[in-house]
Symmetry: C2
Subunit: 123 residues, 2 copies
């Protein structure tokens, strides 16, 4: 999965979300070592400061930890990752349902549209 960054939101916030995704989905496994700040920045075509900022925030939340001159690692806490995944899923679903209901669709509508579109996308 390439870095997918747009200009309509702070880049560091998008990086946080995508790193969480990479961690929850196993792209960066439990306890594994991450590429260096500079490498990640190059990979994402972003300034090292911006990458550093995102990674620091991820440390605050406990998903990563850094060892002074060795590098940065994914937490070994399986449970924290599971909880993060649940939290993200819940947030997405809540937001989705709110937006669709604001638009004037009921549960029936939502489910049928969703079925239609996932069939479409599978092709």
């Amino acid at each position: 999965m390439p870095w997918d960054l747009t200009s309509d939101r702070p880049i560091y916030a998008q990086i946080i979300e995508q790193m969480e995704l990479k961690i929850c989905s196993g792209v960066y496994p439990l306890g594994s070592k991450l590429p260096s700040v500079r490498d990640l920045a190059r990979e994402a075509s972003v300034n090292p400061n911006t990458m550093q900022r995102a990674l620091s925030k991820l440390e605050e939340s406990g998903l990563l930890y850094s060892v002074r001159t060795s590098g940065r690692y994914v937490t070994e806490d399986v449970n924290m990752i599971k909880e993060t995944k649940k939290r993200i899923a819940r947030e997405h679903i809540e937001e989705f349902l709110k937006r669709m209901s604001d638009l004037g669709f009921d549960q029936q509508d939502i489910l049928s549209m969703l079925n239609d579109m996932s069939k479409e996308l599978k092709k």
Copy 2:
């Protein structure tokens, strides 16, 4: 529906989305007159310039039009509103499905979680 603005995205962009919503869901009916820029700005606790900026963009897209010193009105083009509603719904569904699948959930998972949560929210 109160104005729901957060600081993590340009306010004018959020206003555009919420105005589209108000138009598509009938809060501002076809051809109806909107409150003045200044009133809308006050209502949303936002600077008149910011509201003006959002409304101008909505004119560019054709959803609104302004009459020099009389005020601003919703388009009378029913079809344009219908198409806008469809477009927004499609965008939300696509984004939702992508995010959930990136997280590692398949269609089965998504549907069951969605059912659970809409039951929860109905209480």
